[in-house]
């Protein structure tokens, strides 16, 4: 295991490029999110701008968060730790930097096409066929670079983080191609109910086979280093890894419990949603026992702080997700803001927090200097944490209002005035997250480019 040496310069332009990619798109993505949240409060403000209206901003926000902010942030850490853990150099920095440029091109083309109305209308699979091809290509390039790095390793044992990166990159390239139905370029969809089943298989795998394994990989790498404790259990890491792949892939149909899909498939999805407790707790017990007695060290290290907080959100979002898969619960929580809250604490609270932590972990090593400002990093931590906690409380509350009102026979229209205030509160919480994103971007750029700190 690599030690936590103080800021020895480790040139890694690939990791650096992915850090900047993530920080930049985080700022853009939260801006889009805030803008969209504004429309829910004042739909006639800045209205009738075709490329900015809510129906186009919403997929832009979601795709930017997934493919602009969180995934590149987690990959930045992977591009750093895979060579470290295998005691070798990255296979090709040139390919890595090229991949980062292609990645940004893909994201840019993706959001421009969405803003112009080119969409396949399937959640998380909106991007049209040419952009799909670019996405599969960049995942393949990431995969080639990392697999070739591992191929040339000087360390025989593969650490658990590397398993997760491999699984994430290879399986996402496959499920992305499958979920976007790339053999039907015109619509990128199947016909009828099978389309819904495939879409939510894929949609859930974006979390289960991309964000989750990449996040767990970063946590498995950083937490033992920050706490200077060996990993608690390799058996648990094996159990967690394989059970994640088996269980997570089965549960997509829990998005369709009230839709005419085969009942046995719903049963599979519900049972496996509950079984998600196994991979989740295998990981959490492992990480939390690794950190046992070392909360002081975690608190002192900004990366450890972000990542450990991310694991707590992982606990919460996973248990919440299992409970939401119960049909009786879902009668109330489906179709409303409860689910929006769930998605935000999963993607930002868990994966986003860990992505930020991973970046703060590697930034001083990439620049050979300490972080530009620990204060700003702490400020970002609190802004994001307060924002996302606010989101959970506000959106869960408004979701319960909507779900119970509907279940009580009230129409959607009747409930609108009742929830207006919560949309205002949600915008305020979003403002905290937005500020955090811009402060983080500033801090990261200053750390890499205009850093007055002394080189070690």
């Amino acid at each position: 295991m690599a030690d936590h040496a103080a800021h020895a310069l480790e040139p890694n332009p690939t990791a650096r490029a992915f850090c900047l990619t993530s920080a930049f798109w985080f700022a853009v993505a939260t801006t889009a999110g805030l803008w969209a949240a504004g429309y829910l409060i004042a739909p006639d403000f800045m209205a009738n701008i075709a490329y900015l209206q809510f129906g186009r901003l919403r997929p832009i926000h979601v795709n930017l968060v997934l493919f602009g902010f969180v995934t590149p942030g987690l990959l930045a850490a992977a591009f750093y730790y895979v060579p470290r853990l295998t005691r070798t150099e990255l296979f090709s920095q040139r390919l890595g930097v090229l991949t980062a440029w292609l990645w940004n091109l893909t994201v840019t083309v993706g959001i421009v096409s969405l803003s112009l109305g080119f969409s396949q209308g399937r959640e998380y699979a909106e991007l049209v066929w040419p952009v799909d091809m670019l996405v599969v290509l960049v995942f393949a390039l990431v995969g080639v670079n990392l697999i070739m790095t591992v191929h040339r390793r000087r360390e025989p044992v593969l650490y658990v983080s590397i398993w997760y990166v491999f699984a994430a990159v290879v399986l996402t390239a496959l499920t992305y191609a499958l979920g976007n139905v790339i053999w039907r370029p015109d619509t990128g969809a199947l016909l009828g109910i099978p389309d819904a089943i495939l879409l939510w298989f894929y949609g859930h795998n974006i979390f289960g086979l991309l964000l989750t394994p990449l996040s767990l990989g970063v946590a498995y790498y950083v937490i033992p280093i920050v706490t200077r404790n060996p990993l608690y259990s390799h058996t648990l890491s094996l159990l967690g890894f394989w059970s994640l792949l088996v269980v997570y892939t089965h549960i997509g149909t829990h998005h369709l419990l009230q839709v005419p899909v085969p009942t046995w498939l719903k049963v599979v999805a519900i049972v496996d949603s509950i079984a998600m407790v196994i991979p989740v707790m295998a990981f959490l017990i492992n990480i939390w026992y690794t950190a046992r007695g070392k909360l002081g060290e975690i608190h002192a290290d900004i990366a450890g702080k972000f990542i450990f907080t991310g694991t707590i959100w992982y606990f919460f979002v996973s248990i919440q997700g299992s409970v939401m898969a119960l049909p009786q619960v879902q009668r109330i929580t489906h179709f409303n803001n409860w689910t929006v809250g769930h998605a935000h604490i999963g993607v930002l609270g868990f994966a986003g927090m860990i992505a930020l932590g991973g970046m703060y972990f590697i930034l001083p090593k990439l620049s050979g200097k300490p972080l530009y400002s620990r204060f700003l990093a702490d400020l970002q931590y609190w802004l994001v944490l307060i924002g996302i906690t606010g989101f959970l409380v506000i959106l869960t509350t408004v979701g319960l209002i909507q779900g119970n009102a509907w279940f009580n026979g009230e129409t959607v229209y009747r409930v609108l005035p009742e929830i207006h205030l919560y949309y205002v509160l949600r915008l305020s919480a979003g403002l905290a997250i937005l500020s955090g994103a811009y402060i983080g971007l500033y801090n990261m750029v200053r750390t890499l480019f205009f850093n007055p700190g002394v080189q070690a």
Binding site: L40, V150, L171, L191, G192, D195, L238, P262, T411
Partner: protein
Amino acid sequence: MIQRMTPTAVILGAVAILSAVVFVVIIWPNTTVDMTPSEIFRERTAEEAAGRKLYIANGCVYCHSQSIRAFDWGHGATRIAQAGDYVQDEPILLGSARTGVDLSQEGGEHPDDWHMAHFINPRWTRPNSIMPPFEHLGMENLRLLTRYIQSLGMQAADKRMQRQAFWKQASTKAYEAGIEANVRWLSETVPQGWRDIPTPYAASDYSLARGRMIYQGFCIGCHGPVGDGMGDAQPHIYPPPLNFTILKGRGISGGLIYYQVMNGITGTAMPYFKKELESQKIWDVGNFIAAYFIDELDANGPPRGIDAAYEP
């Protein structure tokens, strides 16, 4: 054991698991899902298909579900979705949120002109709506979108559209025959029993205050702030919204107003509100209209039943 986790084992193991799961949860159900069209199924016309493309391009699916659940009865549902309803949908547009209403059976709920006014600015027909205005799409695109929306529900929607067309003709004829004839038509289409009853509750300050709130949330977009039928939606609707101020002395009872608010006037842009407004709210808004716009109240007048317990 940890030494056995070679790159090959990790990658092949992961891909093997994924393949097995894809077989179980994707391929197997795909071969067993019943793709028989349901009893209301019909194919989309070219214009409806073009409207559906606009629906997708503009992200309507993010706020509108097309998926009526078994327990949406309380929500006013008239039909639970079946697999056979979706057999021409590529992609299927079930949606994941009801920021707006479910549209599975929207076809024929309103006439076309209501939809045009609503697309240009949703607040013109639905004052509390938070839907974006879509005027920027242009009238031709809005017409195509309307064709698609009116097709939702397929054969069931077609029946509702026929009803809309029939009553549109009748209501237009009545409107064009002048005020006297129009008011007579509006009255005579209400069953006599309803026309005979006055509002059973007094037009108290509370009743009028409640009625005012309801009017602002449901009626003001068409009938306007002074009840003269000159709301924002008026230029787009034909026959135009009723001018309440002409009704004095024409024998408009509380029961008649109640019936028209409850049941709507199919064929015109006047929707039915019984799904959204409970009995007391309808009586209250009727009192408000009668007191402020018609200036002729029959509230609590004869024939009277037993006064309700709360009445002063």
